[in-house]
């Protein structure tokens, strides 16, 4: 049974415990969305998970591997994360396509869970946002129709709006109050608007040890700093910070995407570096990128240099500590 565990984790039970925690935190986000929009968002997430698991099974068949691999839950997490960043009115096949892409193209060819270079969920979201920006970034206004119809596609009867991130990008003055921002009462992706819930998820995951505060805290600090230094036009500085950090994908990325245990560095100093550079890149791409969710592109870029970051920061840290120790010894000698 040794071959079905990921290399970065010692036992199968441990990897299952990691993915189970993440799946558990997606549950309140789904419920929150279901309260606002009806059953449709839950169905979107479920279809996405289903597609990811089926793709994983196909890849297992192809590699003549045991189907037991899907029990580690990583495919389900990938599917859930892709489903959560969809618009509540997206067609069901869009997240299914993204999840299948994530598993078949980004995860399986590298050798499956634990060996993938890039975060599969981020890659799936990136491809979808590049290919179907019209479908992904049109959000229904919550009060316009509740619940949303559960048919294959939602027609023109739903009043749509630009997301907060898009409004800030276009230098428009958003009409959302601070209270609405904190409570998540604005148009946006399924799982990325509930600010308070996402913060609670982050706290829960940190307490469980699933994600590391060495990445999360520097990431949010950098994001807030960048938003404070370069405020969006037409809004006050504090509101700008709140709006940009809560807008759409930045918070979601900080809680879920940058904490994928496989593709982030392991060493604490490298994690800190990773968090800071992720913050800068995410804010930059959010502002000037071609599509609204620049976060996943930032994550993919950083994934490619994460192992180098790990090694180099370890070397730097080792030399620094050695230098300090030698100096201490010299002082003691004197």
């Amino acid at each position: 049974m040794n071959n079905i565990t990921a290399p970065h984790i010692r036992t199968e039970a441990a990897s299952r415990h990691l993915t189970r925690d993440v799946l558990l935190t997606t549950l309140p986000l789904c419920i929150f969305s279901a309260v606002t929009y009806g059953v449709r968002p839950v169905l979107i997430v479920l279809f996405s998970i289903l597609s990811a698991i089926v793709s994983e099974c196909v890849c297992c068949l192809f590699r003549r591997q045991s189907m037991q691999v899907i029990r580690d839950g990583s495919a389900a997490v990938t599917g859930a994360l892709i489903g959560l960043v969809m618009s509540p009115m997206v067609d069901y096949w869009v997240p299914m396509l993204g999840a299948a892409f994530a598993i078949i193209v980004v995860k399986a060819p590298f050798g499956g869970y634990g060996r993938n270079v890039f975060n599969p969920a981020a890659a799936g979201i990136a491809v979808l946002s590049y290919c179907f920006p019209q479908r992904m970034f049109t959000y229904p206004i919550a009060s316009s129709m509740n619940p949303l119809p559960t048919g294959m596609s939602v027609g023109d009867e739903v009043v749509t709006s630009l997301s907060l991130a898009a409004q800030l990008r276009a230098d428009a003055t958003p009409s959302i109050t601070r209270m609405q921002l904190i409570l998540g009462d604005f148009a946006g992706p399924i799982g990325a608007t509930a600010t308070l819930l996402l913060v609670a998820c982050a706290v829960y995951l940190i307490c469980r040890g699933t994600i590391s505060c060495w990445t999360v805290v520097p990431y949010f600090a950098t994001c807030a700093l960048v938003a404070w230094l370069f405020p969006a036009a037409g809004v006050s500085r504090m509101y700008g910070v709140l709006a940009q950090v809560c807008a759409g994908y930045v918070l979601f990325t900080g809680v879920f995407l940058i904490n994928d245990t496989v593709t982030t560095p392991r060493f604490w100093f490298a994690r800190l570096l990773y968090g800071v550079s992720a913050g800068v890149l995410v804010m930059l791409l959010q502002r000037i990128g071609r599509v609204e969710c620049g976060c996943c592109f930032a994550i993919l870029l950083l994934n490619s240099i994460a192992p180098i970051m790990d090694r180099w920061s370890w070397y730097v840290w080792r030399y620094v500590t050695r230098f300090l120790r030698i100096r201490q010894e010299v002082k003691a000698h004197e």
Binding site: V105, P109, V127, Y130, C131
Partner: protein, 217 residues
């Protein structure tokens, strides 16, 4: 009897060089040369075939001339001479394409012909220095061209089918179209999968040809 044996060995040696360049040491999938035209221009089968023909027109005469010049040139001068000859051939190919084949196709591809030619010359100018006999050079150039042609035609055909559901401008009878496949990332992914497929099968192909050559040694 002895003569026939030498001939047979030569044949397997030449075939080995051809297959090595066309398949097992493919110029695109293994050496990663000529990627730019495939990724940017390989969106319809017509483009792919046109670029393959251009590659053949440039590479085959070039390698023949180079094998005739052989060791007569000093080593430091060789790359320069090859590049000059290759560029002249490229200019000729581009002129013929624009005036007598299809000006529209030339308008689409004019940027990629020099790119491809220079990319191809890269391997040539290095590889030609250890040439043994003219036939081997021709096999080498032909192999490279065929290898490039197979990959670009395969990728451009696949992309044309997904972009506009046509093949060689003939509609295939269904209307599922995904215009985003024209973006570079789709070509990179396809190349990656083809490369993996080749890596998976190449050891068997190489082993077969080495065995035949040894049998006739």
């Amino acid at each position: 009897m002895n003569n026939r044996k030498i001939l047979r060995r030569r044949f397997w040696q030449t075939a080995g060089i051809f297959v090595d360049n066309a398949v097992t040491n493919n110029i695109v999938l293994i050496q990663a040369l000529g990627l730019c035209p495939i990724i940017a221009a390989g969106t319809t089968l017509k483009n792919g075939v046109a670029l393959t023909v251009c590659a053949a027109v440039i590479l085959l005469p070039l390698s023949f001339i180079v094998s005739l010049l052989g060791e007569r040139l000093p080593k430091w001068l060789r790359p320069a001479v090859y590049v000059v000859i290759g560029s002249l051939l490229m200019v000729g190919a581009a002129y013929v394409m624009e005036t007598s084949i299809s000006p529209e196709l030339y308008a689409k591809l004019y940027l990629f012909i020099p790119l491809m030619a220079v990319n191809m010359l890269y391997t040539r100018s290095g590889g030609m220095t250890t040439v043994i006999y003219p036939l081997a050079t021709i096999a080498d150039a032909l192999g490279s061209t065929v290898g490039f042609g197979i990959v670009i035609c395969l990728i451009s055909a696949l992309r044309e089918i997904t972009i506009s559901s046509t093949l060689w401008d003939v509609p295939l009878g269904y209307t599922v179209s995904l215009p985003e496949v024209a973006a570079p990332f789709a070509a990179f992914i396809l190349l990656g999968f083809l490369s993996a497929l080749l890596q998976w099968s190449r050891q068997h192909i190489t082993a077969y040809f080495r065995k035949r050559e040894e049998e006739n040694a």
